[in-house]
Structures are given as structure tokens and as C-alpha cells.
């Protein structure tokens, strides 16, 4: 079960903002996490707590293919990203590394900064505990569910 505070951003949050290229000379997850969202919100790392949720508009994660973007979000302890839509490489990278992401136009529009968010993945329900409103999210294709269930693409390959 996912439960945490939502941090809200707009449309087209790009991978340069999520993890600027000046930090791409490392693959160290902790080091990357220390700069998560730095160029869109330099206080993000200080204010976000374990389990918190990033909420955004259209096309979240657009731009480069850098897997460092979902890696730094996951390594910081962010439990999931809810957006109106995701850029395609960020989407597949998140599935592949096991960062939960949920596409929900309504939830992404109505959640406010600081709201308390709960997600029940199996029931397909996002709940805004602050406003007591429930939302569904776009279900994943069966083939993607297999990768998600395995915990990511490498784990899926190991079992396949």
C-alpha cells in the first residue's frame, strides 16, 4: 500500500529538471537521489519524506532517456508518481526498474500540494485522504503487469 504526501508539479516536467546532466557522471543511486528534482524545485530533497508521492500534469519525464530520472526518484524513497500522462521512455524506464507510476487525469488535476495520498494498486484506486475523493488509474497491459509483478525487467528475465 502506498501512502504519503503529494507534491504537485505542472505539465512537461522534463528529465533535465528531474536529474540535471551535471550529475550524470555517476550511477550511484544515493548520489543521484540527493539531486532529485533539483532544477524544478531545489528544496524537494529537503521537504520530501519517505513514501511521498510526486503528482504532475501531462507528459511527465519528457526529454532524455536517462534512467537516472526514475532511479533518483525511487532512491529518494518517493513511493510513486501520479500524472495526467507520462513521456514514453520515462514510462518504460519506470516499469523496468519497478518505480510505480499511475496515469490518472482526474487525480492529477484535483490533488493539491500537500494532500495525503493513498494508492491501492490491486484495487486500482487512488484515494485523496485530505479531500476524501477516490480516483481510478489507467490499467497496465497484461505483459507490463508481468514485468511489474516480477519487480522490474531484470527480475522478470531471471524468472522467465
Amino acid at each position: 500500500m502506498i501512502n504519503g504526501k503529494g507534491w504537485k508539479y505542472g505539465d512537461n516536467v522534463n528529465t533535465d529538471e528531474i536529474i540535471p546532466a551535471r550529475y550524470l557522471n555517476t550511477t550511484d543511486k544515493k548520489e543521484l537521489a540527493a539531486h532529485c528534482m533539483e532544477d524544478i524545485d531545489e528544496d524537494f530533497v529537503k521537504k520530501a519524506s519517505e513514501g511521498d508521492v510526486i503528482v504532475a500534469g501531462e507528459n511527465f519525464g519528457c526529454g532524455s532517456s536517462r534512467e537516472h530520472a526514475p532511479i533518483c526518484i525511487k532512491a529518494l524513497g518517493i513511493s510513486c508518481v501520479i500524472a495526467k500522462s507520462f513521456a514514453r521512455i520515462f514510462f518504460r524506464n519506470s516499469i523496468n526498474i519497478g518505480l510505480p507510476i499511475f496515469e490518472s487525469e482526474e487525480a492529477a488535476a484535483e490533488i493539491s500540494d500537500g494532500d495525503n495520498i493513498k494508492v491501492d494498486i490491486n484495487a486500482n484506486i487512488i484515494t485523496n485522504l485530505t479531500t476524501n475523493k477516490e480516483y481510478s488509474f489507467t490499467p497496465f497491459a497484461d505483459e507490463m503487469k508481468d514485468i511489474i509483478k516480477a519487480g522490474g525487467l531484470m527480475e522478470y528475465i531471471k524468472t522467465d
Binding site: N12, N14, D16, E17, P20, A21, R22, L24, N25, T26, T27, D39, E58, N59, C62, G63, S64, S65, R66, E67, H68, I71, S85, A87, R88, I89, R92, N93, N96, I97, A141, D142, E143, M144, I147, G152, L153, M154, I157, K158
Partner: protein, 420 residues
Amino acid sequence: MGMTITEKIIAAHSGHQEISAGQFVYADVDICLGNDITAPIAIEQFETLGMEKVFNPDSIVLVPDHFTPNKDIKSAQNSKLLREFAQKHKIKNYFEVGRVGIEHVLLPEQGIVVPGDLVIGADSHTCTYGAMGIFSTGVGSTDLAACYATGKVWLRVPETIKFIFKGKLNEWVSGKDLILHIIGDIGVDGARYKAMEFSGSVISDLSMDDRLAMCNMAIEAGAKNGIIEPDDCTEDYIKGRAQREHKFYSSDEDCNYHEIREYDVNNLSPQVAMPNLPENVKPVEELSDIAIDQVVIGSCTNGRISDLRIAAQILKDKKIDPSIRLIIIPGTQDVYLEALKEGLIEIFIEAEGAVSTPTCGPCLGGHMGILADGERALSTTNRNFAGRMGHTASEIYLSNPAVAAASALTGKITHPEKVN
């Protein structure tokens, strides 16, 4: 129902006679590409599998081009990781400094990718090769690791938007302007998850360098791939380059397009994308008098020989405005050498431009021309997100090489016809 070129290539690589948009497949990969930023994670991931051998060393290409020649110790460590992995697994397509070029200029030039291929790359601009009738798409490092192990990639077959260009291109208008114009029209997520198929008489007349520049920026509209049906131009381009057998695919007349969009290019001027998104596009005339600090000519979008030729044509026997820093980066060693032989490098140096060895460098704010607080660049690269080339309070405008060169002469965004 017929199939699009994109569907045909994916079908041929996934054991299907027929496939359609929305279908999920595991496809065989001809070439998988990684660079000094993305391959280190792929190598680490691959090594968690404990496999002795990669699926096929000849399908793996390693191009350390982003932070090379190594900009710092950490980058040097990453390059070392690539070098050692290439040695261990006998990967012939590893490109050391001195042979390396910007990946998406290098792979077509060296004939490593050929028409009919299915290519993945852990770099978003891998969509470039669609210009040669290739299904080619950007993926992540874990996809690359999985491909090292299995030779396959998971794909959802994309819907196709067909873009038909009619009319005649004006002087100083290029493939870069066509793609900027489209992105301005449909937005940075206008083709999200989709294939962009470019066609029409304008595309038939376009050079391969211009086609590559167009397909390169399909990702800037959110697309999975950009693609152009191969023709005589493709045949001429691959002659003497192609390292493997190739196959020309084309879309069936009765194929299913998600949407068809038509553009008349007769009145199209050179296009410029304003900060901070590639969709903020205006004709160059509307942006004249915007003062700039730095001009960059190069990148996987516009670092090819024809790009340098057009810049040299404008800069010949002139000096750039003293307020400007002009940085010119040939895309590969072959491009550099050709530019040297043709006297282009001399023109750039006489004009007081700085010429760099091939690198992605400033395009992604890596090195070789980082912007300070409040500075403004005009660049032939592909992204103008806030902070992309340096300080978050710096600004990037995107244009073709002719506009970039003309603007370097005046210190302001300038239509090339004003200085020629």
C-alpha cells in the same frame, strides 16, 4: 488491412505476418546502442544476471560521446567501464576517443545501421535512424541490459501519424525547420507514443542529412519513432557504407493511419524555438533583435557536413560579433576531416569561432560551453529546457545552422538573407 512501414519492420522482427497498433511484442534487435551516460547502468544491470556472455556482441554498439574526451574523473571511470566491457565481450563497435563521434551522426555514417533494421538505443535521439527506413527508438539502460542478455526488446506497436509536405522549400529552410514547425504545431506531446511518418514531394527532395535532422527530433514531439520510406536518396547514401544486408520497407496503400496531416511549405521561413520548450516555435523574422551570448553549431541534430558547409558559406571572410562566443562541433572525425579538407575549419577559425573535437558536450550542459546565469544561447541542438545547457536562469533558442551562423555575425537572432 495493410501495414505501415513501422508496423512492417516490427512484424518482421517479432515473428508476425501481421501486426497492428496497440499490440505488445518482444522484438529481435539488430543493433542496440549505449553511451558513456547510459551504458554504465546497463552494464551494472547486465552483471546482476551473472551471465558469462552477451547474446550477440556484434549487435552491441558503445559510443562514449557525451562527456568525452573525459571531462572529469567520474566520467573517466564510466568510459573505462565501457572500454573494459567491450574488451571482455569482444564488442567490435566500441569507439575510442580519436575514432568516436556523436552517436547519431556516427552510426548512419559508418553504415552500422541499415534500412529495414530494428534498432534500440539508450539515448532518446536514437529515433534519428528512421530517416533511413529503420525502426529505431530510444529506450532506457535496463532495456539495453535486457537486450545484452536476450537480444530482444519489449515494444507496444505505435499508431502512426503521417505528415505530408507539399510545395517548395525557400532558401535557408531545411529539415530542421520542417520538424520545428511540426513540433510548434502539434506540441511536445503531440505524437506521444506514436510513429511520425514523413512523406511528400518535399521529403523526396530532401538530402539524407536533412532527413536525419528531422527524424532526430521526433522525440521532441513525444514520438516513439520518426520514419521516412527509403528511396533513391537512401540507396545513394548507404552505397559503400552499409555493413550488413539491408531491406527497403514501405507503407501499404490501405494501411491504417491514426491521422494524416498536410503542410504547404511555400511560405515557410526558418523556424526558431524559444525557451523553454521546443514547441515555442516562431518564424525567425518575429524574433530578430533578440541579443544572444553564445552560438553552438553541432550535435546529433545538426553536426553533419552539410550543416557545416552552410555555416561556412555564411561565415566566409567575415568575423563574428565581438559579443558572441561561437562554438562549432563537427559530429564525427570523418565530418571534421572533410570540413578540414574543404577549408571550412579555416573559415570558422578566421571568423573567430572555436572548433571542438566531436562531443555531445554543451547540448546537454555536459561541458565545452556551459551557460552562466542570465546568458542566452542560439543553438542548432534539439532541446531548450530550462537549465539544459547550464544555469537554470540561462536561455536557449533552437534554430538551423544557417540562422545560427547569421546570428553569430550580428549578435542577435538574424535571418540568413540579412547577412548574405
